[in-house]
């Protein structure tokens, strides 16, 4: 899943005929000033300015300003750009036309196991959350498009009346077209509003999640995907991501501030069980990491260096199940190099390392890890006969 910020999200909706407010995304006040000279609506309409970043609760943070004239929008942009919120620096502001409206509605399309589901409600904004039973659904099998009749029926069920029945049905139909053609996994407009000037339905705010795996058939996806959990990626996370994009197999790394148990496990499935074991034992994860698919040793080495650099760690869990084809000697070679490098830089003082692994060339790999003891590492090594997550129990009991 790949989250897309409001600007590109609105762009995709516009492409499929959904009315969206006029908007511009700028990275400086100068840019906005220039756009103001070229776009009438910026001078004529009331405006909304929002920090264009993957940030939760922007309103509370003062990163959303409404009812502005162009001058005020410039001032708001100036104030927002460069503001630091946690690990995120605001670099973009989206300035859009304010749409005066009375009624708010809700429309979404989401991926389901069999196909997709269109959701419509006759209420919108924060009202939807508390009135979830008012959301009506139309389920669609994969490859099936909604008929005009079915959409109108849905619209009626959701409580729309008069000309709005057809309007909402059409709006939902366009949402589905956008969802289906753009390989979306989740598309939500909340609220959908009736524009006072012409009575048309307009998408005011959009949540767009696309299927990153389908990027190969969308050459027009020229925007970056946003971080998915409300903060920007750290420098180390970005570096590991760039390694990941270059290699066969994969390396993944997410920092979790404040933890003391560092994770360096193998395999997408096992890694989560290792993290579960830490949490179940009352430990505090310092990160989530994983390598899999027989990555090259240098990539595992980079990952190891990042993990050794995490502040305040007490244990490193080098866990893993019995690999199918990941070469244990080679990948452990990368980890060992990373450990040595970290040690030579004065890191890993007082850090205990716990190893459990199986798979191709497991004996040689585990022997190489064991040999690190002679180099002064505090390392304990187990093989396949020790149950998967027992090293976590031992690590956390030992503290």
């Amino acid at each position: 899943m790949a989250k897309v910020l409001e600007g590109p999200g609105m762009g995709l909706m516009k492409k499929w005929g959904i009315n969206v407010p006029n908007y511009v995304v700028v990275t400086s006040v100068d840019e906005l000033t220039k756009l103001g000279q070229a776009n009438e609506w910026l001078k004529k309409s009331k405006l909304v300015a929002k920090a264009h970043e993957a940030l939760g609760s922007r309103f509370k943070l003062g990163l959303v300003k409404v009812d502005l004239d162009f001058k005020a929008a410039e001032a708001a942009t100036k104030e927002m750009i460069g503001r630091q919120v946690g690990s995120i620096t605001v670099t973009q502001v989206i300035v859009s036309e304010m749409i005066p409206h009375k009624e708010e509605y809700y429309c979404a399309v989401k991926s389901t196991r069999e196909g997709s589901e269109i959701l419509v409600a006759n209420c919108g904004g924060i009202e939807v959350e508390s009135n979830w039973e008012r959301v009506k659904r139309l389920e669609l099998a994969i490859g099936q498009a909604p008929s005009a009749d079915a959409l109108e029926k849905l619209s009626k069920e959701a409580g729309f009346a008069g000309p709005l029945i057809k309007k909402m049905a059409e709006f939902a139909g366009k949402m589905f077209a956008c969802f289906d053609n753009e390989d979306a996994q989740y598309l939500e407009v909340n609220p959908v509003v009736t524009r006072a000037s012409d009575g048309e339905l307009v998408a005011l705010d959009a949540v767009t999640l696309l299927d990153g795996d389908a990027k190969f058939r969308h050459p027009d996806w020229n925007f970056a995907f946003a971080a998915e959990f409300g903060r920007a990626y750290s420098k180390d996370e970005t570096e590991v991501m760039s390694v990941d994009s270059k290699i066969k197999g994969s390396v993944k790394f997410i920092e979790i501030p404040g933890g003391d148990t560092a994770m360096l496990p193998a395999g997408g499935g096992a890694s989560v069980y290792y993290s579960d074991a830490v949490v179940a034992r009352g430990g505090k994860l310092a990160n989530y990491a994983e390598y899999s698919g027989d990555p090259p040793d240098w990539a595992v080495e980079v990952l190891t260096e990042k993990i050794c650099s995490l502040p305040g760690i007490k244990n490193i869990i080098v866990g893993g199940a019995i690999a199918n084809f990941t070469d244990v000697v080679k990948t452990f070679g990368g980890i060992i190099n990373g450990f040595r490098k970290a040690k030579s830089e004065g890191k890993l003082k007082g850090v205990k390392i716990w190893v459990r692994r199986g798979g191709p060339r497991e004996k040689e790999g585990l022997d190489a890890m064991r040999a690190l003891k002679d180099e002064g590492f505090d390392i304990t090594v187990f093989d396949r006969h020790t149950p998967l997550t027992d090293i976590v129990d031992m690590a956390l009991q030992a503290k």
């Binding site: 996994q185 993944k252 979790i256 997408g268 096992a270 579960d276 199986g358 798979g359």
Partner: protein, 606 residues
Amino acid sequence: MSILANKDTYVVIQGGVAGVNAARRMAEFCYLIKRSLNVLAFVYPPDAGKSNEIPYGSGLVAVPVYKTIAEATKNHPQINTSLVYIGADRAMKGGMEALDDSHIKVVSMITEGVPEKDAKILGAHARKLGKVFNGPSSIGIVSAGSCRLGVIGGAFDNLVLSKLYREGSFGVITKSGGLSNEIIWICSQFADGITTAIGIGGDAYPGTDYVSYLEMFENDPQTKAVVIVGEMGGDLEERAAEWYGAKKRRIKLMAVVSGFCQESLPKGMKFGHAGAKEGMKGEGSARSKSDALKKAGAIVPATFGALGPAIKETYQELLKSGQVKEPVEPASLPKLPKSIEAAMKADEVMVTPLIRTTISDDRGEEPCYDGYPASELINKGYEVPHVIGLLWDKRLISKQDAEIVKRIMMLSADHGPCVSGAYATILAACAGIGLSQSVAAGMIMIGPRFGGAVTDAGRFFKYAVDNKMSVDEFLVYMKKNHGPVPGIGHRVKSLRNPDKRVKELVGYVKSLNIKTPCLDFALAVEQVTAAKKDNLILNVDGTMAAVLVDIGFPVDSLNGFFILSRTIGLIGHWVDQKRQDGRLIRLFDYLVNYAAPKRREVPPLK
């Protein structure tokens, strides 16, 4: 018995290198259980018409590659299963092609990163046809004792350790490749092993769900219990729970679900497989899945670590109730033949090497010349002449000697189009022959009369110096035993028309104030011969030879200097002709003296 794969499963693999690698792993399993290779064909259009060689035991099986599934199944009607290893952007087309073939009943997709929509279309299409679409992102399917599809089960040693050579009583369904091996291993340690283990794939919406497989296991009398390894996200586990709780089931269900850590991690964090994503409003969480499974009567250990003992307990109950009997292990199992490399590493065989080398080695991360890494030589300022020194004489020559070698190379790089070598190259180039062949044509001209006198010149000057001969003694010795002195004499140059190149080289070497006994002797010889006839001067070959012997190069390497430097010129001539599109050369009649008999009548054949 088993589900999905058995002794009658025959496979076509769609894909290139990854598919061939999988076929090798499958061949290892076939060898272990003593069945013939179950991969009958590949479909990979770029290689269509060729075959892939798959090691089986100590032999090789050639498996044909076809352009389409239809061709593969037409030639091998036993094929009933396809494994898809092609890239994510073409995977759907490949999967469809396989599903639409009437011979194929099961398609298992190993490809990762397949768009969700494509996977759903494939899944729906398979259901419509009453077939199984497993995956994507599946590690494979293995039925103990009968069939392996893909790399599931890992390396050969692991197949043996996990007792996959014979059937047990536990079915396994997992989303994760590594964990499938872990569970298979646990089942073989704490119980009697598995019937079938299925990698369902780590994506959010795999083509098949747990329930379909649970139904199949329920109908397989050999399977007594099924272990599910689940994770947060989606609703496959809840559906499995619903199925299990709906009525009394023959099989016991055991399950673990990962993702409890999510409760104490930053919200929205994505980890694990693509399918492992946060559900809305608590649905799809590890906890709700575990609770649903428990409620339905499944055995759900608190941690992954507790799964082993739980499996053991279940197995003991099955034993006690007489539903299973202790398995009988076979007396012996086939051992995978070791490769020569592995056997040598283990000191088990000794091989007499075919050739011996003493100058270079490229087995490490870069080539070493006489032990020195090439990049280090470059970075420390060494140049081409030093590489020549290392490879031709196994020594690191001095800066001064390197300068001499460099000058020799430059002076002999090319001597115009009319000399034998260049002419032959041009002739070949104009006949449309390629670079290496044309250069080789010029190269074979090198011999005693053209550029190939360097070695002999060096040999005889050295002989004279070593034996302290006078010039006269030397000339007599040469006349009596060998003929004209190599390195002396020139076709166009003479005393009155001296060779600037020789003058230059001699002048430079002399200016260095080094000992040059051979050069001195050669010059003394020239004094005498040139006095007899003015073109009997010391030529470039002779000068090079004398100097190179003086700075210590072995006599046998000397022609090499000419060959190497003149290659530069020959390549130049070829490129030159190519660039100007030189036309085919035919010798003019007037350049030939036709000394053959005049036309006459052919006598009748007797």
